[in-house]
């Protein structure tokens, strides 16, 4: 499956291979180096930027770097060509000459600079220096890769629980609804009990934990229905899917709850560790723990055994019912966590969240090589599966595939990926 993921990555890299113009501080560094190489002796520089998003950072950084290296900044223009013209006139008026004009990709193309010799013969022969462009796939830009990881974090985390359940030979259709329920509960608790917009950190943590635990309670309920009353998991969790979604709408009164403190977005949008989004860090930690559980711990072995052959497992002393309860409660708790992350990403809780997510989550698990018959599967397989889906979606966004077409393609690719995996297993 990793192979499929790499192939997809390679494909989208090739398709999105384009000219990249650096902006912001990166661009500033490039230009500064170039100027300082060409003019060793205190060059006289004019900086010209326009009103693009990366430009303030560019001009600030550039000015700082050049001054530090001993250059003289004769002007720092921010605006339109006429502002640059005024600045040039002022420099000429002061009887100064210029060595270089530092521009962004955009300002470097202004007509004004193409015939400087005729309009400002007194200015000397300054060189217009722009950040050098290079070719690199849009897909492989670090911003885009982090974006993919952040987009899939919720699905990937919920898929951990789904993997537990599917390995025992069951299925959990309720996770999508539980995401909504948890998001709504967390948002409501923060609004009503933790102080809303002025909520404290402790208050928000308690609200989220409460929301996740309440989802866990629905997991207990599903588990009991499945173990005590032997109702097929498909039916139990289908019912819970409806119940959960309905409850979310009732609790939120059909609306979105957004009276939440700004700091609530830390979990979903923050990036405090090595520039990695916090949700992604959490996802990686959870996958690591789940992997340990499945490969090193008794409980993990029991999960595989129950899915591999329930009767043989029971006759070998495996507490089958307790193992099944563990799987369904785990799945519900992780769905609850997914809901909290989603509420944090969107800074609100709405009953519409998580719609159809159960299917994406199941797809991630299956694409990751876990057998729906139970007894087989790997946690990191599921992570690969989740990323495969995310990469396909992201790649299609980058290549401007229409959203309806995206669904068709995604469905077919999931089928193809599973087929490929199956063939590989057979050989």
């Amino acid at each position: 499956m990793v192979l499929v993921l790499l192939l997809l990555g390679a494909f989208f890299s090739a398709v999105t291979y384009t000219e990249q113009s650096p902006t912001g501080e990166t661009a500033a560094k490039l230009v500064a180096t170039s100027i300082l190489q060409d003019f060793k002796n205190a060059p006289r520089v004019l900086i010209v930027t326009s009103d693009h998003p990366g430009d303030p950072a560019f001009s600030k950084k550039l000015e700082h770097d050049l001054m530090a290296a001993g250059a003289r900044i004769l002007g720092n223009v921010k605006g339109e060509p006429k502002d640059a013209r005024e600045s040039l006139q002022q420099i000429v008026g002061n009887g100064e000459k210029l060595d270089a004009i530092a521009c962004t990709q955009v300002t470097g193309g202004w007509l004004l600079f193409s015939d400087l010799q005729t309009s400002f013969p007194a200015i000397g022969s300054p060189r217009v220096i722009t950040p050098e462009t290079y070719r690199w796939p849009n897909f492989l830009k670090s911003d885009n890769l982090l974006n993919i990881a952040n987009q899939i974090a919720v699905i990937a985390i919920v898929a951990i629980g789904m993997t537990l359940v599917i390995i025992t030979g069951g299925i959990d259709l309720s996770v999508g609804s539980l995401i909504a329920l948890s998001a709504v509960l967390a948002a409501k608790f923060i609004r009503d009990f933790a102080g809303g917009v002025n909520a404290t950190t402790t208050g928000m943590i308690l609200a989220c934990v409460a929301a996740i635990l309440l989802c866990g309670v629905t997991g207990v309920f599903s588990g009991l229905m499945i173990t005590r009353f032997s109702i097929p998991p498909f039916i139990v969790t289908l019912a819970m899917m409806l119940v959960g979604s309905g409850l979310a709408y009732i609790i939120a009164k059909g609306q979105s709850i957004y009276q939440i403190s700004d700091s609530f977005v830390w979990l979903g949008r923050g990036a405090d560790f090595f520039d990695l989004p916090n949700a992604v860090v959490l996802m990686l930690i959870l996958y690591f723990l789940a992997h340990i559980l499945m490969s090193r711990m008794k409980q993990g072995r029991y999960l595989y055994a129950v899915g591999g052959n329930r009767e043989a497992a029971r006759l070998s002393g495996v507490p089958v019912n307790r193992v099944l309860m563990f799987a369904y409660i785990g799945s519900a708790l992780l769905a609850g966590l997914g809901g909290v992350i989603m509420a944090s990403q969107l800074k609100s809780g709405s009953p519409t969240y998580g719609n159809m997510y159960e299917l994406y989550v199941i797809a991630a698990v299956v694409v990751g090589g876990t057998s729906l018959n139970g007894g087989e599967g790997k946690m990191f397989g599921t992570l690969t599966g989740a990323f495969t889906i995310a990469v396909i979606q992201n790649g299609m966004n980058l290549t401007n595939v229409e959203s309806y077409t995206q669904k068709v393609v995604l469905g077919l690719v999931i089928l193809g990926a599973v087929l490929l995996d199956r063939n590989r297993h057979r050989n």
């Binding site: 090193r296 711990m297 591999g308 070998s316």
Partner: protein, 496 residues
């Protein structure tokens, strides 16, 4: 006069699987109206050879001749067209369909595209009459007994007008009475000129039914003789390639005080007021015909099923015993009759299967001590001479004997005080059987209490110290000294 060519001739069949040369040039002939016994240890190549004949496995080399003509055998269809029907141990019947529907499955009698039930029922009735059996042809097959299902399989072969019928371990789950019936039918088929290949590990049956014996060992022919020119011991020697002095090893160990006592166990009609005890160092045989309630009794002791009444006492202490988990932790182990469905998780590795009941003591704070796990497994692989390529081999790829050894290993490692062996040697070749018997003796000598459920009376007589006979859920008799008992004596009690 020139002798007509044989009905079937397989010449120099070779087949290799990754890592294994399953058949090294096996030849076999079968005349019309002959019962040929195909003998060999598990893994000797019998199954592969029959799969080649059945068209489900393609041979690498060699040819198959039907009445002297070379015929391709590349698919199930080729095999069917050549008049071959293979009846596997696991029947090929659809449980929800009736006997008639199963008989004509895939080649229904139709009239203008509609099924003609009346016609099918009529021919089915005729067929069963010809076979001399009475089966309710309108009952779903899952409600038929194993013996009846087998008869439906045979009838299916006849519907297909098979001239060559292969029966793989047909008597494995039949009672001796039913085996007798089966033999009558086989003789009837033989008189109609049908050639039958009969695969079985039960040598006494082979002596009773076969005309000729072909023995395979390690994928090659090692003998082919008419039945009247070979003795039972010679057959065993050919199969295992060594001289087996005795099928049942002797045991000499002191029998101690009572370990396990079952008092008044009851569950529905299957088990009714069953009481018995097993002592230290003793092998107690629980025997009777299939359906006598022996397995059900064992399941009550192991708490695999809930007992309605009765008490279980181990070493003087009464056990609550409400789940297999509890039974295991109090020191009771059950080696189930059905290895594939209940004993092993077939898609999991040898290591995972071995560890399952042992994880409680192999792990600390929930973490498995993997080094110890591997060490223990390696130890038992060596002691039990389990033939595995490596620890991670998938259990499904092992032969029956090795699968049983893995099951044994997992219970030995658990160090159970009371071990229940339910048909421990079913479907296992002679060599592996002997090893399992030896092991049972060692366990008894170590002071364990053993309960052995077996339908094979020679095995019961050869292995047990004491025999308990059951019939329709009740204990009908106890034979205190198994050494003095006879098969007739057991049979008397079993049919009581």
């Amino acid at each position: 006069m020139i002798e007509p060519p044989p009905l079937l001739e397989m010449r120099e069949i070779r087949k290799s699987f990754p890592g294994v040369q399953a058949l090294r040039g096996v030849s076999l002939t079968l005349k019309a109206g002959e019962v040929l016994a195909l003998l060999g240890e598990n893994g000797a190549g019998k199954s592969t050879l029959m799969k080649v004949l059945g068209g489900s496995v393609e041979a690498d080399q060699g040819e198959i001749l039907i009445q002297g003509c070379k015929v391709p055998f590349n698919s199930l269809k080729d095999s069917r067209n050549a008049g071959v029907a293979v009846i596997y141990q696991e029947f090929n019947l659809v449980p929800a369909l009736t006997a008639v529907e199963n008989l004509f499955l895939g080649h229904e009698t139709t009239r203008v595209g509609f099924l003609s039930h009346a016609q099918e029922r009529q021919s089915a009735g005729k067929l069963f009459k010809r076979m001399g059996v009475e089966i309710d042809i309108d009952v779903p097959c899952r409600n038929l007994s194993t013996a009846q299902q087998q008869l439906v399989e045979i009838a299916k072969a006849l519907v297909l007008q098979a001239r060559i019928i292969v029966m793989d371990e047909p008597s494995a789950s039949l009672t001796s009475y039913e085996v007798g019936r089966l033999f009558e039918i086989i003789r009837e088929l033989r008189s109609q000129g049908i050639g039958i290949i009969y695969i079985s590990h039960r040598l006494s049956e082979i002596a009773a039914i076969a005309d000729r014996v072909t023995v395979l060992r390690d994928g090659a022919n090692v003998g082919d003789r008419p039945i009247d020119q070979i003795t039972r011991n010679q057959m065993i020697e050919m199969m295992v390639g060594r001289d087996l002095k005795d099928e049942f090893p002797k045991r000499n160990c002191a029998i101690g005080p009572t370990r396990l006592e079952a008092i008044g166990l009851s569950r529905g009609r299957a088990v009714q007021n069953v009481s018995f005890s097993v002592r230290r160092g003793e092998i107690l045989a629980l025997t009777g015909l299939v359906g006598a309630g022996r397995t059900e009794t064992a399941r009550l002791i192991f708490a695999a099923d809930v007992r309605e009444e009765g008490r279980i006492v181990l070493d003087g202490k009464e056990l609550e015993n409400s789940s297999p988990q509890e039974a295991i932790s109090s020191g009771i182990g059950l080696l189930t009759e059905d290895r594939k469905l209940q004993g092993l998780i077939l898609k999991h590795s040898v290591r995972e299967n071995f560890s399952l009941p042992n994880l409680t003591w192999l792990s600390d704070k929930g973490f498995i001590n993997q080094r110890q796990e591997q060490k223990k497994l390696d130890h038992y692989i060596e002691v039990l001479k389990i033939k595995v390529a490596h620890r991670e081999q998938i259990s499904n790829h092992l032969s029956g004997g090795n699968q049983q050894k893995v099951v044994l290993a997992k219970w030995l490692a658990r160090n159970c005080e009371v071990l229940i062996f339910d048909e421990p040697t079913r479907g296992i070749d002679v060599g592996a059987k002997y090893e399992i018997y030896l092991l049972m003796n060692e366990l008894a000598a170590a002071g364990k209490a053993l309960i052995m459920i077996s339908s094979e009376f020679p095995e019961v007589l050869g292995m047990a110290d004491r025999i308990l006979v059951m019939h329709e859920g009740r204990v009908t008799g106890e034979i205190q000294d198994a050494r003095e008992a006879t098969q007739e004596q057991i049979m008397q009690l079993a049919v009581a």
